[in-house]
């Protein structure tokens, strides 16, 4: 049953690129929304366009759908350049930010809309709708109106409606933004497993970095109308190309100081509180007597109450506040800099219990040298 929704089966093509965007630019009046963006999206993959609001990600998605006409550049879906193809002939599935379910139609009529406008016979439509609703486990509410559904159910109706016409591509515009945190995490898993099962190429727009990390095979980070980094989630998280990305994706402890010494691979940086930190660098980075910025992720800083034990890197400080949140805690440590250092602690119930720090405790922070990442200005 699910097989029949598998688009790979209905569109057997050899080209591994499902969507190709080349040199896309778009202005609204005097505002440049998207500037010379080129993206290749692999068949069957889940790709996220991630960035702050106004970065142009939604314009790219809407251009793929045909809802915006590019000023420059071409958009290819499969082996067809679609620049001049009207929206309604593109055969794309799209889930809108607030789902855009038709409020005057039942769930079944919403899901069947794409088939109806294509002139599919009623019997075929009924079967396909039933199958699609089964897929998202909503067979029981087929006759309800959208307003009678919960947020999560609406989201699933929107997905069923987008997939029932067996589109060659699924576009998601902040698909989980309207749900509250708990439900969002549940729907993330559901959406991901469904996408993998159906095997449909998917492009999602989101401003939520956690959502992008969790769902994507590949993340395209955008800022101010341009692509600033593209890669798999762990690469983007571990090796952000600049400070903007390091700050936008995940939480980071940023430091900045003067390079007092350097070897080929390491710079010694003196912070304003006098502490010396060893920062791994690459050739050409970090001249002596210049300033260097770097960051360490909260989960890579380790707390101990004893002496500075690791020679990889360590700092003394005083616990300012421990923000408990169940599975993990964030411990904020004052080390004499304007910003406290954020340290992630896990509260796992291990055989050898660990003493939790408290506000006012004197602690030592340590990390492995490879956790320190220099930033190119």
């Amino acid at each position: 049953m699910l097989q029949s929704l598998n688009t790979a089966a209905t569109h057997p093509q050899d080209d591994p690129v499902a969507v190709g965007i080349a040199g896309l630019s778009k202005r609204f009046g005097h505002v440049v929304a998207v500037q010379n963006v080129s993206i290749d999206i692999e068949r069957g993959s889940f790709v996220s366009l991630l960035g702050p609001s106004g970065c142009g990600k939604t314009t790219v998605l809407r251009a793929i759908a045909g809802l915006e006409r590019p000023d420059e550049g071409s958009i290819r879906i499969g082996d067809e350049v679609v620049n001049d193809l009207p929206v309604w002939q593109r055969n794309i599935g799209m889930v809108f930010q607030n789902y855009a379910l038709f409020p005057h139609m039942s769930v079944a009529d919403n899901v069947g809309f794409g088939l109806r406008v294509r002139g599919a016979p009623a019997s075929e439509r009924r079967m396909a709708v039933a199958e699609a609703l089964e897929m998202v486990r909503l067979g029981a509410v087929a006759e309800r109106l959208p307003k009678q559904l919960s947020g999560g159910q609406r989201q699933r109706v929107a997905i069923a409606r987008a997939l029932v016409t067996r589109p060659r591509l699924l576009l998601l515009d902040e698909p989980l933004g309207a749900l509250d945190r708990k439900l969002r995490e549940q729907m993330q898993l559901e959406l991901k497993l469904l996408q993998r099962r159906v095997g449909i190429t998917t492009v999602m727009v989101t401003h939520d970095q956690e959502e992008a990390l969790t769902l994507s095979d590949r993340i395209i980070v955008m800022n101010a109308g341009k692509v600033v980094q593209a890669g798999p989630p762990d690469e983007v998280y571990r090796d952000p190309r600049n400070a903007f990305i390091a700050d936008f994706i995940g939480t980071s402890n940023f430091f900045s100081g003067e390079v007092v010494d350097r070897t080929a691979e390491t710079a010694s940086v003196r912070l304003v509180n006098g502490a010396m930190i060893a920062v791994p660098i690459v050739a050409g980075q970090a001249e002596v007597d210049t300033s260097l910025s770097f960051f360490i992720r909260p989960e890579n800083v380790f707390l101990s109450s004893g002496k500075a034990s690791s020679d990889e890197g360590s700092l003394r400080g005083c616990v300012l506040h421990v923000a408990y949140s169940g599975a993990v805690s964030h411990c904020y440590v004052d080390i004499g800099l304007p910003q406290p250092v954020d340290v992630l602690l896990t509260n796992a119930n291990r055989s050898t219990p660990v003493q939790a720090p408290e506000a006012g405790d004197e602690v030592v922070l340590s990390w492995t040298r490879s956790s320190v990442t220099a930033l190119t200005p």
């Binding site: 759908a65 045909g66 809802l67 929206v87 309604w88 002939q89 593109r90 055969n91 794309i92 599935g93 799209m94 809108f96 930010q97 607030n98 855009a100 038709f102 409020p103 005057h104 809309f113 794409g114 109806r116 406008v117 294509r118 409606r161 987008a162 016409t165 576009l171």
Partner: protein
């Protein structure tokens, strides 16, 4: 949501009583007219003396009223239909497309407020007179479209503004051609606005006096004109009977809207 309760319950009571008095004041004219239609007296009096339906019979047998009712109904039906059709298109264009001079258009939609009805009446008398349409029912059609169209556009624009543009986009992405989007999504969702604009447009046209008076001629007098002509000669409860019928028809129409659309959105 009630505001802070402490020491405000008395305030609330006083405000409610005040609203009651204001409403009573507003409907005083109705409260006088309707009972007087059932009076047994030959002159209009309050409180009415006796009870009879004879003035309704008198109204129904006065030729001017019957003729006027027919003319008013036809003019209202034609003008409203034209206003709704033209108004829907114009409202859609206004809401969904960017315009140079949009502010001007919004100003023009307030024409009925800006141009006093006596001025509009005189102007239409000049224009339609020059075209030889005074006393012709098509002159009334034109005049009443000018009266009802701005109102229709405003109500329908509000209705279209309430349709999330994402719904139109969603239907396009789902494969609907623009004509299908209009038929399957926009029109059904505009239904409440269309109903409200039609009913209010009809009432507005049916009740109009000043403009009609300057445009109509002897052969095509509307009901309000017939009433005017009648009271110039004599005031008796026949007038109250006709007024009562007009009020009841309007109340029924507005009640239909209240049931189907809800009045709340028509207020403010």
């Amino acid at each position: 949501m009630a505001a802070a309760p402490h020491a405000r319950d008395l305030t609330g009571f006083l405000l409610r009583a005040f609203v009651g008095l204001v409403m009573l004041f507003l409907i005083t004219p109705i409260l006088v007219v309707i009972p007087s239609a059932f009076s047994d007296d030959v002159s209009v009096s309050f409180p009415p003396i006796g009870f009879s339906l004879k003035w309704f019979a008198s109204a129904a047998t006065t030729p001017g009223f019957l003729h006027g009712f027919g003319i008013s109904a036809m003019v209202a039906a034609v003008a409203t239909t034209i206003s709704i059709v033209i108004g829907s298109l114009a409202a859609y264009a206004l809401v969904r497309y960017r315009f140079p001079g949009r502010g001007l258009v919004e100003l023009l939609l307030l024409t009925p407020l800006i141009v006093p009805s006596i001025v509009l009446a005189i102007a239409l008398n000049m224009i339609l007179g020059a075209m030889g349409l005074i006393g012709d029912i098509s002159g009334l059609f034109v005049a009443h479209v000018i009266l009802t169209l701005p109102y229709a556009v405003r109500v329908l624009a509000g209705s279209i503004r309430g349709i999330d543009v994402a719904l139109e986009e969603a239907s396009l992405v789902l494969g609907a051609r623009p004509s299908q989007v209009g038929r399957l999504v926009i029109l059904p969702m505009m239904a409440p606005g269309l109903l409200a604009a039609s009913v209010f447009g009809f009432i507005m046209s049916f009740d109009e006096f000043t403009v009609s008076f300057f445009v109509a001629g002897p052969g095509v007098n509307t009901l309000p004109i017939a009433l005017f002509n009648y009271v110039e000669i004599n005031i008796d409860p026949t007038v109250s009977a006709v007024s009562t019928v007009l009020i009841i028809l309007s109340v029924i129409a507005v009640a239909v809207i209240e049931r189907t659309v809800g009045l709340a959105r028509m207020l403010g």
